[in-house]
Homo-oligomer: 383 residues x 2
């Protein structure tokens, strides 16, 4: 039995001081319900929230969201896998439907990060690395990814300019995406000259903390065909973990969980990297998108810099990537990101992406990394 | 296809300054692996963590736990539903297996609550109620349940002594449970005279914050029969939500999500309350166990006080309940509680509960409430 997506909704990402976390959730949910059209709240058997709870003042988030959405007394719970929390929710919804327990499940990725003061938020984020042996020495989130960047430069001669070309691309497409946080083109020169964060990164290598939500409605094959003219089918799912502490990783030029999860998803969906017409990958830092090119298999290990030099990840290249602006330009409300990536892929596969449309896109992929690579979820969708 | 439990492990609950959160997880996991016997870590397809992340300094808990358990690169993620977090993990594991995605799944309920200072912990717990409209006025967790207690006394003439009889029973059995935090019998007189918490509660009406972990290994029917002589089958699952804010509840003498979840579980398992030979219910406060008697259907609404007066929830009564000491005597490491309840029911159904054994127990039930009733998960197990 296949599982299809029959409704999608996406709120504006950014500093959303106009909305509480439950209001952000409702905004995306309402849009997904409108998109599906032919569905009553009572027809949704369960709501799975993807979010990182500790960034909110409100505890027990599914409780307040279910009430605000008018979804009592249906089942609800939350999944957390750091920045991949709503991909864990998508995986859970898929299993809920395939198991026969539920026919229609809403996935709600939601996060309000700007409730906390920046120093508190940075301290919390650093603790996404191993507290006992690593973050206690002061490692910050950008610091972790800077390790990857430096090692990639050392082993493969990748340059900081190549990394920033990723940011230039993502801002280019983000400027066309009305849901994105940053809608301005940038240049390599401007990005190189910007404030340093963790060597070699400047602020333009780093995605931004944001508030936002995205909602997906998944249904069983039979229901999906009734609910939507063009259901988009979730046909490959990969999920893998890797050592959290970098000292136990085999190297720093790859995210092992991303490679393993990609292999699982390609195998289940019976496709290979060359079949992926459009992908959303986890570019929390510019180097992360380059690692993604290589770990997914769009190019060979060490060739990610060349891949962006050749503009292979632009529309018209071999594998258009982050055509919604990616985490870099769209913003990264951590729990919402996996659902937001899927929103974009569904939009592209439906042919609804307007001036950002990848012509004839029929197979799409999402790659959502949790934390510093301790988990990756890869999903493959087909029209 | 049925889903069976083939391995269980339970660490000591209490103030565990001897162990980090990953060490607590490992302690329970190791015992579950030993209990299963015939299983290698590589045979476990996924690990689902049930926990409330915000009580830990370490973020991204499944990452650090999977590494410490030697479970890379298998999939892992976390489920959260406040105090019912590991029941959400059990539900997820059931769906993962029924969907055909996984054959063997480990559920790990784990929580270390004593890392935080008490005032910080109390503030966090109060925010399990609605932050925008209720907890901002100072409502604490015991305060919420005191509302239920007072209203039950007002409507049905239930007495504080009847509530404390629940505590006396649970300490009676807890004294026989080597995993329990408190292993002393108490008397009504001592409990009545103890320090007040929220009228009418004294400290003996309230369960204690604790550290601890419990682990369950679930498997598909085919695998379960190979892995254990006496698999215990999960045959009924209920999950429902209710309004988080008390102002939107129809009354304060029932938890609507508990009634709805119980009905779902009884229907799926084709049994009724009278068939339940042994149950573990969510006695975070004494009144909560009385509400559980009524909401599950062990007695009629308003008759919970009489039910404990008649000792119907003791061994020898109509429905023996919390024969492990319950949250009250065993301690309540919130994310671990659902898995701990299941550990007890599996032990009873296997006939391994020693001097606490309910003779001939063949059908068991767990009732795990999240927060102040915004979710309840009910599971029914058969030998």
């Amino acid at each position: 039995m296949k599982v299809g997506i029959v409704g999608i909704g996406h709120g504006k990402f950014g500093r959303r001081s106009d909305a509480t976390v439950q209001e952000l959730a409702f905004e995306a949910f309402r849009l997904a319900m409108e998109d599906t059209g032919n569905l009553d709240r009572k027809d949704i058997d369960a709501t799975i929230i993807g979010s990182v709870p500790e960034y909110h003042k409100q505890r027990s988030l599914p409780g307040v969201v279910a009430e605000y959405l008018g979804m009592n007394d249906q089942p609800t719970w939350l999944t957390e896998a750091a920045c991949a929390s709503s991909s864990a929710a998508i995986r859970s919804a898929y299993m809920a439907i395939r198991s026969g327990m539920h026919e229609v499940v809403a996935v709600l990725g939601v996060q309000k990060m700007t409730e906390l003061e920046t120093p508190e938020l940075l301290a919390l984020m650093g603790r996404v690395g191993d507290v006992q042996w690593e973050s206690i020495f002061g490692t910050t989130f950008p610091g972790y990814y800077a390790f990857y960047a430096n090692r990639h430069m050392h082993e493969f001669g990748t340059t900081h300019e190549q990394m920033l070309k990723v940011a230039v691309k993502n801002h280019h497409y983000g400027a066309m995406n009305e849901k994105a946080m940053f809608r301005k083109e940038i240049t390599i020169e401007k990005a190189l000259a910007a404030a340093p964060v963790a060597d070699p990164f400047t602020v333009f290598d780093c995605c931004a903390n944001a508030d936002g939500a995205a909602c997906l409605i998944l249904a069983s094959e039979e229901k999906a065909k009734k609910l939507h003219d063009t259901p988009i089918w979730l046909e490959g799912l990969g999920c893998a973990s890797a050592a959290m502490s970098l000292l136990r990783r085999p190297d720093l030029v790859s995210i092992p969980s991303a490679k393993a999860a990609s292999e699982q998803a390609f195998k289940q969906a019976s496709v290979s990297p060359k079949d992926i017409a459009v992908a959303d990958v986890h570019d929390c830092f510019t180097i992360a998108e380059i690692l993604a090119y290589e770990d997914i298999g769009f190019c060979k290990k060490g060739k990610g810099g060349k891949f962006i030099d050749e503009e292979q990840s632009y529309i018209g290249g071999s594998n258009p990537i982050n055509i919604d602006g990616g985490l870099k330009a769209k913003g990264h409300p951590v729990g919402a990101t996996g659902a937001s990536q899927t929103y974009e892929i569904v939009t592209q596969l439906r042919g609804d992406a307007g001036k950002r449309q990848v012509d004839g896109a029929d197979v799409g992929l999402t790659h959502n990394v949790g934390g510093i690579g301790q988990y990756t979820f890869v999903h493959i969708y087909k029209r």
